[in-house]
């Protein structure tokens, strides 16, 4: 069985691009086996048009009925990475069969779940990095010579940069919600 590995980084708000990329890969004869967020593992398959859909599901306890539901609707369960569940299905005739969300309200609910999750991750990190940098800039803390005194301000800067990246993802998610609520004629 021929396999390949591709390195690709998708932000938490980039799942639509990820779905599109996986569809293109499958069209070229490579189906997704699994990913760890950085490396994507593919297996050779028939080059066909398969729709990939990602769901963000917060119920971390093993819920077999969740996956069974998707199977009932004709989806193949690929695997899950954290809260992200990967499903795929060969393209069918009508529109709503090819998406896991058939109305805007449920799409918006999904985007909101991701926003809350991102918020929970990045806000504490952001506040913590602010505190470190404040202490470094305005006090004598971290101005010593030992390793921690040197390392902690750099860690603070790194955290600050990481949370700035999150800010961009927030904006993207808010825009996605806004666009669904205000479709351009």
């Amino acid at each position: 069985m021929e396999t390949k590995i591709e390195r690709k980084k998708f932000g938490i708000a980039d799942f639509k691009e990820e779905e599109k990329w996986l569809l293109e890969q499958h069209k070229s004869g490579w189906k997704l086996v699994k990913t760890n967020g950085i490396k994507y593992y593919f297996e050779k398959c028939n080059a066909e048009e398969w729709i990939y859909q990602l769901d963000f599901n917060e119920n971390t306890e093993k819920d077999e009925s969740y996956i069974q539901m998707f199977l009932d609707y004709g989806w193949e369960y690929v695997f899950h990475y954290g809260k992200w569940f990967y499903f795929r299905k060969k393209r069918e005739g009508w529109d709503t069969a090819n998406t896991i969300f058939s109305d805007n309200a449920s799409k918006i609910e999904m985007y909101k779940r991701i926003i809350y999750h991102l918020f929970e991750l990045s806000i504490p990190l952001f506040l913590f990095s602010c505190m470190i940098l404040y202490l470094f800039a305005f006090t004598t803390i971290f101005h010593g010579d030992d390793f921690l005194d040197k390392a902690i301000p750099w860690a603070g800067i790194t955290m600050m940069v990481a949370t700035s990246f999150s800010f961009g993802q927030f904006l993207k998610l808010f825009k996605m919600v806004f666009d669904l609520r205000n479709p351009i004629q």
């Binding site: 769901d55 709503t96 309200a105 449920s106």
Partner: protein, 108 residues
């Protein structure tokens, strides 16, 4: 009647309405989609993710309850609260329909 629940669910989304309406009978997710397809001449086809989101939310808010699980499929049924909400929504739809036909709504 919980005012907050009413505010959230009235008026209902089309999807929400059909799901709650179907769950007056005990059934599982895919049954509901099939029943709704039948009722609406295939015009409304509820997808998996939408169904899961709605069922989870309605269960959490007490409008439906989980009865049993067979072959990894959860069956649900409407609760008293759910029936009350549905009845309010049905009256609203009746009013809308009567008015749309040029009739005055007299509260019945």
């Amino acid at each position: 009647m919980n005012k907050k629940i009413q505010k959230i669910y009235i008026p209902m989304t089309e999807t929400g309405f059909y799901i709650l309406f179907c769950l007056q009978e005990e059934m599982h997710a895919y049954n509901i989609t099939e029943r709704v397809k039948e009722m609406t001449n295939d015009e409304i086809v509820i997808s998996a993710g939408t169904m899961y989101t709605n069922l989870s939310k309605m269960e959490k808010d007490g409008l439906i309850q989980y009865t049993k699980e067979t072959n990894s499929r959860k069956l649900y049924i409407i609760t008293n609260l759910g029936q009350n909400i549905l009845d309010i929504e049905l009256k609203r739809i009746e009013r809308l329909y009567k008015n749309s036909k040029g009739e005055l709504y007299n509260g019945n």
